[in-house]
């Protein structure tokens, strides 16, 4: 059973549907007990870092997610859910993240040439940065995935498993042990995205 953390942000319809399409049983829940019982946890997220971190905390789900991750349960953060895995984020002020992966979330604008549009929106190619992560075992170098984001994960070099080029290499995916994160939306990335979800679920 895959638990999708429901903490009042974003639309979980596509994520739930895409997991159903690869034959996975899911529960969308904000219940600590159900999250503890799940085999794997997905932390989704759309919106602003501080607001989402606060919503997790006020439901006590930050401690549950961190606890489960530290006990070795596979965890996948998606988009803002990936960003929340880091120590802190700088979107409308400075906010603490979950601290599961060392690094911080900063505006893309600091990194890329001014003539490029922000948000970074659309399909961009994945480039693996080191020995291919098992998360990408059904995916090829150069396969495209769908991004929508204005902030990126920085100072997390050793845990980056894929980047995409947008004026500069942007962190596309990270992994530290059992904790993974995708900046892109696998649930909106066609067959490539479904294959990444499949790899996470196996």
């Amino acid at each position: 059973m895959i638990a999708i953390v429901d903490y009042g942000v974003g639309n979980l319809f596509s994520l739930k549907s895409s997991l159903a399409a690869i034959g996975e049983e899911t529960v969308v829940t904000g219940d600590a007990e159900l999250l503890r019982r799940a085999d794997r946890i997905i932390l989704p997220g759309v919106g602003a870092f501080g607001d989402a971190a606060e919503k997790l905390r006020e439901r006590g789900l930050d401690r549950v997610v961190v606890g489960e991750a530290e006990s070795g349960k596979p965890l996948l953060g998606i988009c803002l859910g990936m960003q929340l895995l880091f120590d802190r984020g700088f979107e409308y002020g400075e906010h603490a993240g979950l601290g599961l992966i060392p690094g911080e979330v900063r505006p893309i604008a600091e990194l890329i040439p001014a003539e490029l549009k922000i948000p970074h929106i659309g399909w961009n190619a994945l480039h693996f940065t080191k020995k291919k992560s098992p998360l990408f075992r059904y995916v090829r170098e150069g396969d495209c995935v769908y991004f929508v984001h204005s902030f990126h994960a920085a100072r997390c070099g050793e845990d980056v498993i894929a980047v995409s080029e947008y004026g500069a290499p942007l962190t596309a995916a990270v992994q530290r042990g059992n904790v993974c994160g995708c900046q892109f939306h696998p649930e909106k990335s066609g067959k490539v995205g479904l294959n990444i979800l499949r790899a996470f679920c196996e």
């Binding site: 319809f13 549009k117 948000p119 929106i121 190619a125 990335s189 067959k191």
Partner: protein
């Protein structure tokens, strides 16, 4: 490198695709689910479903079918047509749409853009503008291109982006249906005015028109078309192969 997007647009009335589509291998050529899947499998980067239903019963059929599409196809889905209130946003987003396109509803009430962007994020709000030259000036038209609002188009689009629209679809009424190519002059003017993604619509007659579009105006992010895809005049794999040959980055499926 970010790729250029190719976006087929499907008009839906009472839950069925209008304009007969003629492809072999489709058991139901008016099914949004089958057609959407066909386009997704052939490499469409995004799909736009435009609800041209007038009745509330038709609206219900549309949202039912949208739910079915979103359960089957895992690429970004944009929905437009009849979006006048935040409740309309809510209705289609709950059924699995990723973005919502506003046109006449935003002309009547520009605050709709602001309110929707605040609630769902800029990335969710697409401003679609039907634009036509009147005495040499770009004017915005409402109600499916039937009514001249008198508003100057570039100012309106700039205003919409300032209110929170995360993308802009520019549909040139002057080139629409003529199949002589996209309206490069109009698109250039819009690209110079805004910094959000610009989607070109109206005028595609063949593969060369897309090549010309992206070569002439590298700032254009996507090309949208309906009939040339539906009637099989242009297939998406052939289009993408031609773009790739011209060093225009596109996604492979």
């Amino acid at each position: 490198m970010i790729t250029k997007r190719i976006i087929p647009c499907l008009d839906v009335r009472d839950g069925r695709v209008v304009k007969g589509v003629n492809f072999q291998g489709l058991s139901d050529v008016s099914s949004p689910v089958e057609l959407g899947k066909f386009y997704s499998d052939s490499g469409a980067d995004e799909l736009v479903f435009y609800d041209i239903t007038a009745s509330s019963e038709g609206r219900r059929l549309f949202t039912d079918i949208l739910t079915e599409v979103a359960r089957t196809i895992f690429i970004p889905l944009t929905v437009g047509g009849g979006i006048n209130t935040l409740d309309d946003f809510d209705r289609v987003l709950k059924c699995g749409a990723d973005k919502v396109s506003v046109n006449s509803g935003a002309i009547r009430n520009p605050r709709l853009i602001f309110e929707a962007a605040k609630r769902y994020g800029d990335q969710c709000v697409v401003l679609s503008a039907d634009v036509k030259r009147v005495d040499g000036v770009f004017r915005v038209f409402a109600r499916g291109g039937r009514e001249n609002t008198g508003m100057e188009a570039i100012e309106w689009i700039k205003n919409g982006v300032a209110l929170g629209a995360g993308e802009v679809v520019v549909n040139s009424i002057d080139t629409d249906g003529v199949k002589q190519g996209f309206d490069l002059e109009m698109l250039d003017a819009v690209c110079s005015a805004v910094s959000v993604p610009v989607i070109a619509s109206g005028g595609a007659g063949g593969i060369d028109d897309f090549v010309t579009l992206f070569k002439t105006l590298p700032r254009v992010d996507a090309g949208l078309a309906a009939s040339i895809f539906h009637f099989g005049e242009v297939t998406i794999p052939a289009l993408k192969a031609a773009l790739r040959e011209n060093n225009i980055p596109v996604r492979e499926v």
